[in-house]
């Protein structure tokens, strides 16, 4: 299969892995954070940990949009959808995310009109097909998905569609990285930069990480060879004492980003003064809201939103795992109270969450090692 198999070639992978071992040596430990949940998923799916030397530790970052969404926002979205004549539309990722009264899928089982869409424009299509209903799109995601939400609202306004709104939970990646770096218990050597987000924002926004924080960052693709090559590039920088932004994912990510997508976002969104992140708390200027020009499509303005705040269970140590202080299985709830079927904490919810990825792909392998050791 083109654009996939080239990046999974066993020969090249083992060559690159050899190069990593040579560069990493044995004298010191390297802590690298992959910011993006897609990378976390790929690391487990392709079993990359089996290939990497032990002194390279990958820390899973905050880049899983489902994981960082506070439970109260889900409750708020479902509260809107409980009003008569409302269709709740969301990505498949959202469907199993629990609110205090259950997930969207559980609400669907109880009779709520919940639809899975693959893009916001599919939600707009639902609105056209159901003129007597109101379609509310529950928008999540970083800069990866925000442009398509923006373009959908621009189109809805141009078409004069009245029965469509967006419950906006879009967040931005840079403030989250800043929060991670500001955390006192964080000791990171380098970053594997997000791939999909960077197709939109480009590489320039990461320059402060290199210049001010003196940490190398390499924007990476998602195939095994992409990620291994990015680790090689990071090791080369670290060995040379450099800190630069580099782009490994050039076949997809332009240095300057996607101007059309950025324009669409600027047209529709403005920064919220602050927004709550699950596991990280309130981060200023870290999320997007719909601006006044598009207020007619803002579900938070069209409907009465309860503004529910739910604190995570005290025993769940999502924040520590999110910041890489704890490994998923070191959390007290991991695999017992908190499983992919019944997630307690955010990171167990999405397949991109580090706990869920660790649970489905890794933890029994770890148990096996202890067993045989």
């Amino acid at each position: 299969m083109r654009f996939v198999d080239e990046f999974r070639q066993p020969g090249l992978i083992s060559k690159t892995a050899d190069e990593i071992r040579r560069l990493a040596g044995t004298e010191r430990h390297y802590r690298m954070m992959e910011v993006c949940g897609g990378h976390t998923h790929a690391i487990y799916r392709f079993g990359l940990k089996d290939i990497l030397p032990e002194n390279i530790e990958l820390i899973h970052g905050p880049g899983c949009p489902v994981c960082v969404l506070p439970m109260g926002r889900i409750d708020d979205g479902l509260a809107i959808a409980r009003q008569p004549g409302v269709i709740f539309a969301a990505f498949g990722d959202m469907m199993r995310v629990p609110g205090t009264q259950g997930s969207p899928l559980e609400h669907k089982a109880r009779g709520m009109d919940v639809r899975i869409v693959y893009s916001p424009s599919d939600a707009l299509k639902l609105a056209r097909l159901n003129p007597d209903k109101h379609v509310m799109f529950f928008a999540i995601g970083f800069e990866t998905t925000a442009p398509s939400t923006a373009l959908t609202m621009i189109r809805a306004q141009a078409e004069g569609i009245r029965n469509f709104s967006v419950f906006c939970n879009h967040v931005t990646i840079i403030p989250a990285i800043r929060a991670i770096l500001d955390s006192p218990d964080m000791r990171l050597d380098a970053f594997i930069g997000p791939g999909h987000v960077s197709t939109v924002i480009g590489c320039r926004p990461y320059e402060w990480i290199a210049h001010n924080e003196h940490k190398p960052i390499v924007v990476s693709g998602f195939e095994p060879l992409d990620m291994l090559q990015s680790i090689v590039m990071l090791l080369r920088q670290l060995k040379a004492g450099e800190a630069k932004v580099e782009n490994q994912y050039k076949r997809v990510v332009p240095w300057e980003g996607n101007r059309a997508a950025l324009r669409a976002m600027a047209e529709v969104f403005q920064l919220r003064p602050y927004f709550e992140w699950r596991g990280l708390g309130f981060i200023s200027q870290s999320a997007l809201r719909i601006n006044d020009k598009y207020a007619e499509f803002d579900a938070e303005q069209r409907f009465v939103v309860p503004g529910i705040r739910v604190t995570d269970p005290k025993a769940a140590q999502c924040g520590e795992v999110l910041k890489g202080v704890l490994k998923p299985h070191q959390c007290k709830l991991f695999g017992r109270e908190c499983t992919p079927e019944h997630p307690v904490g955010a990171l167990m919810v999405s397949t991109e969450g580090s706990c869920a990825a660790y649970h489905s792909y890794e933890h029994r392998k770890a148990a096996m090692v202890t067993l045989t050791a």
Binding site: V4, G38, E106, T144
Partner: protein, 350 residues
């Protein structure tokens, strides 16, 4: 004869407060429902590993019996339709229990307002599939529910079959070193249905794999009967879920070689795009078999030469570790655990 036992005092371990779609998706939640509620209340004690069909003795004669309900949407899709699926699905459940289907009983639940032409097409499809498989449709029943209380039509088929001589299916007989065989590419059916629903705006030239697997099972039994330990048709939940059930039932590890698992490029592509694992996608015309190593070559050669069996492969082997788990190893030395499907496969965004 003793009065039928009642099990009203048997504790129910199923704790979910309501039935969700996931309980019917064939994965973990389905298994919890069956093991935690149906089995204790209907069988009393847990009867041990559950298989696709029961073998029941009546007056010294063993018959195989199974039942399956079909609720597919859309009713027809590239490569098949609900009527044909209802016949072949039940034939397949009997086949992988080591039995040849002899007769079927059919129940219809029809929604008022269903066009007769649709019903007729499906009944014709059933008749054709039954004729091709040499299976008699012996009896049936029809219920009609109000418009809006069902989705067009549901079909339930119950099949009885004759066990093939010389083959015993038992997860307990699986041993370290046994080979895992797969009859052909995985994921065709599930991806075809996903695309046929038209919700994803994706198109591909792909057909469901729905067919009777009995001819291939019969070939396998003739070539390697005494070596066959276990068979299963990996429908909902996919090959990963079937193999996880086996791993749990026999307490051994199922190790798959990723590059040996046949998957069409179209299916791989769709799965890459949607963030799904082909091993979790439903199949309707494939089966998995565990065969002892000395019979593995004979088994795969015979299936490869039979019509419709050319893409069959040995996809892995049984090992002591990781116990109770399915592990997929990649060409470049990585590995990952593939769990049972949790709920329905949902497309991911990014």
């Amino acid at each position: 004869m003793a009065a039928p036992a009642t099990f009203s005092d048997v504790p129910v371990r199923f704790r979910d407060s309501q039935i969700e779609m996931a309980h019917g998706a064939g994965g973990k939640a389905s298994r919890k429902l069956v093991e935690g509620l149906f089995a204790p209340l209907l069988f009393g004690t847990f009867p041990g590993p559950l298989s696709d069909a029961a073998h029941v003795e009546i007056n010294g004669t063993t018959i195989a019996i199974t039942t399956d309900s079909f609720v597919v949407k859309p009713l027809s899709f590239p490569g098949g339709s609900i009527g044909e699926l209802a016949v072949n699905g039940t034939i397949n459940d009997l086949a992988v229990s080591g039995a040849k289907a002899e007769a079927l009983v059919v129940s219809f639940v029809l929604e008022a307002g269903l066009p007769t032409s649709v019903l007729e097409a499906e009944v014709r499809a059933m008749a054709k599939a039954a004729r091709e498989a040499g299976v008699r449709i012996a009896a049936g029943d029809t219920k009609v529910v109000e418009h809006g209380k069902a989705d067009q039509m549901y079909v339930t088929t119950t099949g009885i079959g004759r066990p093939l001589p010389g083959v015993t299916i038992n997860p307990g007989s699986v041993r370290v070193g046994d080979r895992i065989l797969l009859s052909g590419p995985v994921g065709d059916h599930g991806v075809t249905i996903l695309l046929a629903r038209g919700e994803l705006d994706l198109e591909a030239d792909l057909r469901s794999d729905t067919r009777s697997v009995f001819p291939l099972v019969e070939t396998l039994v003739k070539a390697a009967g005494p070596g066959i330990r276990w068979m299963r048709d990996p429908t909902r939940g996919g090959a990963a879920t079937s193999l996880n059930e086996l791993a749990r039932d026999c307490g051994l590890g199922m190790v798959l070689f990723e590059d040996q698992v046949p998957v069409r490029d179209i299916v791989r592509g769709a799965c890459e795009l949607l963030g799904l694992d082909p091993l979790h996608i439903a199949n309707e015309g494939q089966f998995l078999a565990v065969v002892s190593p000395e019979y593995a070559d004979a088994a795969i050669n015979a299936i490869n030469l039979a019509p419709g069996g050319s893409e069959a492969q040995v996809i892995g082997e049984v090992r002591e570790q990781p116990a109770g788990t399915v592990l997929v190893t990649t060409l470049y030395g990585g590995s990952r655990i593939v769990d049972m499907l949790v709920g329905d496969p949902l497309p991911r965004i990014c």
